[in-house]
Point group: C2
């Protein structure tokens, strides 16, 4: 059982000549669900291969993003792929941050705050600072759940700013750890089977904050600017730095289709997909590995202004090879979404139109007509694939 629960990202695998990439689809031969690593990829002769049946494994997904950046929408899209309704633990603390559905449990890493609101004020640190987090406990509890054990997870009460008595969380099939620091601590990071970073650009963040805090809560423009500025040094130092670890970064930028569009209503969204990640094959447009820009609106598909523009191409991101899939603009009608989906490859959809079906099912969620909804949905399908590939076909090479 312990072997079955060994992390696919275990430090030992990362530091050996037999790199984790070599465990992925490209370097293993699979037949009827059983995979054998190809010995040709390593100079060592004594590679022993054994197959672990691991359908009970807890797969850990990390989602990093700033507060107020649409993490909860993203979570709803992800859990929707697995079905069932996401609810707080039954009969528990009404201010619990946990959501449990049939297959997936989403925990909020704010629950691992080491300091409550008063404590942070006393020590003069923000909620973004590492000193305000209990990474030790975060690691222990995620590790325990990965090993199939229930944990007594603390609750950070966002209403009171206090640490409430803990709640019991059972090891789910899929554990989604969302919050500010899922990849900050190395040991926590190594537990992650798949890592997503939601990267909202300063311009869009500002536009959204104005919309929410000024229009809906009556804050002044100056106070919004001041609060963003005050937060920025810690954000850059502790949150933004995690981007480089992510397998997928969803970058949300202002549109380039309308000059000087500043309202954040039309978005250019980029899905930056790391190459060579185990169990993950980046989605692409038309021709894998080449560079393409595509305006689907034309003779067969008519769109209203400003239309849609897609882009795909190889790039490097923090020195690592990535493939970028980008969508600028918004879907105006259903045909456009179907048309775009039909030209995407490696979406990990199980049937033709699954992305569209998911988007329609969740059409009331923010971002359903643009690249955030599209790529969050693709991420959901990717997570399902990662889950399936880990739990159904796990090859554990032992170098020795």
């Amino acid at each position: 059982m312990a072997a079955a629960r060994m992390s696919t990202r275990a430090p030992v695998a990362r530091s050996q000549p037999f790199a984790p990439q070599a465990l992925g689809r490209s370097s293993s031969t699979c037949f009827q669900g059983r995979c054998v690593a190809r010995a040709a990829h390593t100079a060592r002769r004594s590679v022993r291969v054994f197959v672990v049946k691991a359908e009970d494994k807890t797969v850990v997904i990390g989602l990093a993003a700033d507060s107020g950046c649409g993490k909860s929408t993203f979570m709803r899209r992800l859990t929707a792929v697995f079905g069932g309704t996401a609810k707080p633990p039954a009969g528990g603390n009404p201010d619990s941050n946990t959501l449990i559905s049939d297959m997936a449990t989403v925990i909020c890493l704010d629950d691992y705050h080491a300091l409550d609101r008063t404590g942070r004020k006393e020590k003069g640190v923000t909620a973004l600072a590492p000193e305000a987090q209990n990474f030790e406990l975060m690691y222990e509890q995620i590790k325990a759940m990965k090993d199939g054990k229930p944990v007594q997870k603390p609750i950070y009460n966002h209403v009171t700013g206090l640490l409430d008595p803990p709640e019991e969380i059972k090891a789910p099939k899929i554990l989604v750890a969302e919050g500010l620091h899922p990849f900050y601590d190395e040991r926590v990071r190594e537990l992650m089977d798949f890592m997503i970073y939601l990267d909202i650009s300063d311009e869009v963040k500002f536009a959204w904050k104005i919309q929410r805090d000024m229009a809906e809560r009556g804050h002044s423009l100056e106070s919004i600017k001041a609060s963003i500025e005050a937060r920025k040094p810690d954000f850059d130092a502790y949150i933004d730095v995690q981007k480089k670890h992510a397998d997928v970064v969803i970058q949300v930028l202002p549109t380039q289709l309308i000059p000087d569009e500043k309202e954040g209503k039309v978005l250019r969204v980029r899905m930056i997909q790391k190459e060579g990640v185990k169990f993950f094959n980046p989605a692409y447009l038309f021709d894998e590995g080449s560079t393409i820009s595509w305006i689907p609106c034309g003779r067969k598909l008519t769109c209203s202004f400003p239309g849609i523009k897609l882009y795909y191409g190889p790039d490097t991101y923090f020195g690592e090879a990535v493939s970028v899939l980008e969508m600028d603009g918004a879907f105006d009608k259903l045909e456009e979404l179907i048309y775009v989906e039909s030209h995407l490859s490696n979406t990990s959809g199980r049937f033709y139109g699954e992305v569209t079906q998911q988007m329609l099912k969740n059409s009331s969620y923010p971002g359903s007509t643009n690249g955030t909804g599209l790529f969050q949905t693709v991420c959901g399908l990717k997570i399902r694939e990662v889950y399936e590939r880990i739990t159904q076909n796990t090859v554990m090479p032992v170098v020795g």
Copy 2:
């Protein structure tokens, strides 16, 4: 027989509500080589359809271009598609401008000069002026060949500048009429089954002329500039105006891949393909009717600087719907050409790799590594398709 030889561009068809476009693939149903026009495309009820077996028909292809713009290379590429060696008429005038191969005969429209070099000088007109052409005879003789009859075609002797005694030209299967004015005269134009205009931009023309006249013939830069300037008014008035009639314009421009490249060695070539032309379905990249730019060089295909960039998209050209296929840069090695061909659709190639095979066969011709060679080859395949569709499956609707 007369019906079989009726032009597919007959004026009657052009001026009737049942437009010639309606005879093309998009509005007819074909099964086992027999096509029936769809009556739904016209409001008239009394459209009668009859099928003409027309394998002996002479198909007329027009190629318009300025002198020194590579028409002869283009011709060699076109005739290469049909096989056989192109030779001047056997035992005839050694200064004949005609080339005869198994299926195709290429005539040069300079042979229809109404004035010889002295005559033009006396009247003060250039070889570009309509007054210097005998359009009446051009029409009569092309019409006669289209009707299966041989003609006594005059010969303009480019060496002496005189009009030599005529030569007999038999009606070929494919008649290519190349020269300065194939689409200038309306009656001549209406005889054309397919029209190509080779449009070399001023910058490239200038670069080529410098290369040839300065480097090879010792002319001065000033005299080259002066000769281009002197020619320009007549060129614009009588040659350039024909572009709007062409079914395909091959536009040759300086590259955009290297800033300030002025030597005309790296080229951006655009194939502007008219939509709705009978027997002609434009070639495209990935997704018909949308807009795409594609850099094939990347993870799967490596290229040396400056690489290759392709573009495809709908546009309008002189008010008419066109599809533009564009290639910038040069093929560095065979794989690049194969890779590009494998991603093009509607090339009219009969088997996978036919474009590449043709390009290799003619690799000694100028332009074999760039878009001129690529698109001239595609034009050759398109002409073959036009020929086959006219002669094997002709639907002649009679409105009445």
